[in-house]
């Protein structure tokens, strides 16, 4: 079983549309893991049925048992996040400010403070229209994506792939360069970088590739909207060559991407033209590189 991770560094490059297309092309043989939980949009294209769901906990939140509180104020004194205001003569934890460091509980003389696991959202296992399965998640407001959630979504997807003898897991990776994307990359067999030829696209590509390189994972790159800016596109191609990154394909700027999305479809279902062919070729090239 091989794990293919798609990442992009910045938003709006078409990463999710392309990943969903690969899921359709791979059909029953591909388990999908949506780890872009900050902007989890893959479900809009793959029609999941939300069959199983489970609450997800990450980090902790202080909770004051009022009955045991002697109002000494030590907790509020030590809190560096101003998360324990006095409301109606009671010390109350403000959940949006609490960092879950647990310091308050350690200094409370009456053990009135406990750390509760913080419910940050739900994760789901769904049947999708490709005849396969997708693992995905939804975060609550103000909840941060974490390495833990990404690891959970990925390990569920891998377990399913192994139990059902599937050959591939395809992961829609997290944005940025922090802990979630590290967790997205960890364990990958091949990384697909999706970028666009804009000044910020190239900048973000370089930043995220630093991480991929550090993990020693083989990588390939798709330049989307390649014709928007031929000059930057050339620069990206030069970068790929220099870093020994497989240049998978250049895709044109094409509003069919949006039209397909508006229809709730991936581009390979919507169009029969050139674009579909390019994406099918890209998928083939990725599989050749994963072997």
């Amino acid at each position: 079983m091989k794990e293919i991770v798609v990442i992009s560094g910045k938003g709006g490059t078409g990463k999710t549309s392309i990943t969903a297309s690969f899921a359709v092309l791979g059909g029953k043989n591909v388990i999908v893991a949506d780890c872009d939980v900050d902007a989890a949009d893959m479900h809009l294209l793959l029609e999941p049925d939300f069959q199983d769901s489970e609450d997800f906990y990450s980090g902790e939140l202080a909770y004051i048992k009022q009955g045991q509180c002697v109002k000494c104020g030590k907790c509020a004194d030590v809190c560096r996040f101003d998360a324990i205001p006095i409301i109606n003569n009671q010390y109350i934890v403000d959940p949006l400010s609490c960092e879950g460091c647990g310091y308050c509980a350690r200094v409370c003389p009456t053990d009135a403070i406990i750390n509760k696991d913080l419910n940050v959202g739900k994760w789901y296992i769904s049947n999708i229209k490709t005849g396969s399965i997708m693992v995905h998640a939804r975060l609550g407001i103000g909840a941060d994506n974490s390495g833990k959630l990404v690891a959970k979504v990925k390990s569920e997807a891998k377990d399913i792939a192994e139990d059902e003898f599937k050959d591939y897991v395809i992961v829609d990776g997290s944005p940025g360069v922090g802990c979630p994307v590290v967790s997205s990359l960890s364990g990958a067999s091949f990384v697909v970088l999706v970028t666009e030829p804009s000044v910020s696209g190239l900048h973000d590509l370089k930043r995220v590739y630093e991480l991929v390189h550090k993990f020693n994972i083989k990588a390939g790159c798709i330049i989307n909207k390649a014709d928007i800016n031929p000059e930057v596109c050339k620069n990206i191609e030069g970068f790929l060559q220099k870093e020994n990154i497989v240049h998978i394909a250049n895709l044109p700027y094409d509003e069919d991407f949006t039209k397909a999305m508006t229809n709730g479809q991936t581009i390979v279902e919507y169009s029969n033209g050139h674009l579909k062919e390019l994406i099918a070729k890209s998928w083939k090239k990725i599989l050749e590189n994963v072997k």
């Binding site: 390495g147 959970k152 960890s186 364990g187 990958a188």
Partner: protein, 109 residues
Amino acid sequence: MRIVFTTKGTSWESAMDPRFGRTEYFLIYDEGKDKLLHYDNRDSANDAHGAGPKTAQKLFEFSPDILITGNGPGGNATTVLEKTGVIILVGAGDMTAKEAYNAYKNGEL
């Protein structure tokens, strides 16, 4: 030589876990005594952040000479491992522990 593998199980036949920080188990092989031990690291799934350095700390307790894993540890874990002086060998993500050991012996990692 004391060799540690990141694995998904507790025997030589277990598949390697390509991850370091969130590996399910460590398999610890003492070549001198020909003894195989394991350590259950599945708790790491509960860490929102910082799984890497914590796992590296656990590893330190086994004072290994060599670590064999898949993709290589992240930045924070690497910082810890550098202090422990362990030699890190990567690229064994798709093997079983036994295969990884043989690959190491043949100088293939």
